[in-house]
């Protein structure tokens, strides 16, 4: 079992993608199937961007076992008022600044869901959100 840990600062777009790129390198070294790596990278990148775009700070824990990857992404942030709405393509609460960068199109969570085998969202408004994503090899 390999365990990787990353801390993400809210608002720091220059670092978004760092954790995804490190996880990608690890999975490549382990010889994981390209398509599965792609799925994991897309999901984790979106989760990273969500922290940067919405939260004050967050933490990513990635557990790689022989049978798959579990990613736990938790943040201290605004939480999600209506998860069902947030899962709809096109719904976003991103700021104008974030939208101008080409994010905030309401595709993040749907992208995550399409790319993992299991997605659990635990959220408390005003406190934060934890995503647990599982992708089997």
């Amino acid at each position: 079992m390999i365990k990787l840990n990353y801390t993400i600062e809210g608002g720091d777009f220059s670092r978004a993608g760092y954790a995804s790129s490190q996880v990608k390198k690890n999975l490549k070294q382990l010889g994981v199937d390209q398509k599965i790596i792609k799925n994991i990278v897309v999901a984790l990148y979106e989760a990273e961007v969500n922290i940067v775009a919405h939260a004050q700070k967050g933490n990513i824990e990635v557990l790689i076992s022989p049978t798959g990857v579990k990613m736990i992404v938790s943040d201290q942030g605004p939480g999600i008022v209506d998860v069902g709405q947030a899962m709809q393509v096109g719904f976003s609460t991103a700021s104008e600044k974030v939208r101008q960068m080409g994010f905030g199109a309401g595709m993040g969570l749907p992208n995550i869901k399409r790319n993992v085998d299991r997605l659990d969202i635990e959220t408390k408004v005003g406190k934060g959100t934890t995503l647990t994503m599982i992708k089997d090899f």
């Binding site: 993608g17 995804s20 990278v41 990148y45 960068m101 080409g102 199109a105 790319n115």
Partner: protein, 110 residues
């Protein structure tokens, strides 16, 4: 087709020295929504966009795109160039607008 051949055919500006110039181009993708590119572009695609910040490099690198082509004379800032070179991502530039450039790219690649 290699990126370097495309540079010649479309008279593109190269912002990132020799980074990624030997990549093979398998197709193209046109979008300014980053999650759309992340979710739907394919490996080896040439990505046409007007976005020119650091996350463009992150996405091109993570998704293993062949190159990024900035349209209508948009130039990447210095930090973007630096990161792109470090990640071996080719960032190219064109004076044309997206529609015209995409049309040319399409006819070259198909």
């Amino acid at each position: 087709m290699k990126v370097t051949e495309l540079v010649e055919k479309l008279q593109l500006k190269v912002f990132t020295a020799s980074a990624g110039l030997e990549n093979e181009i398998t197709g193209g993708y046109v979008s300014d929504l980053l999650s759309d590119v992340m979710g739907h572009a394919a490996e080896g695609n040439a990505w046409l966009t007007l976005q020119n910040h650091l996350n463009v490099v992150a996405i091109a690198s993570l998704r293993e795109l062949a190159c990024v082509i900035l349209v209508k004379n948009i130039e990447p800032p210095a930090d973007v160039i630096q990161k792109a070179i470090a990640e071996d991502v080719a960032i190219l530039g064109s004076s044309e607008q997206t529609f015209e450039l995409a049309g040319k790219l399409y006819s070259i690649l198909t």
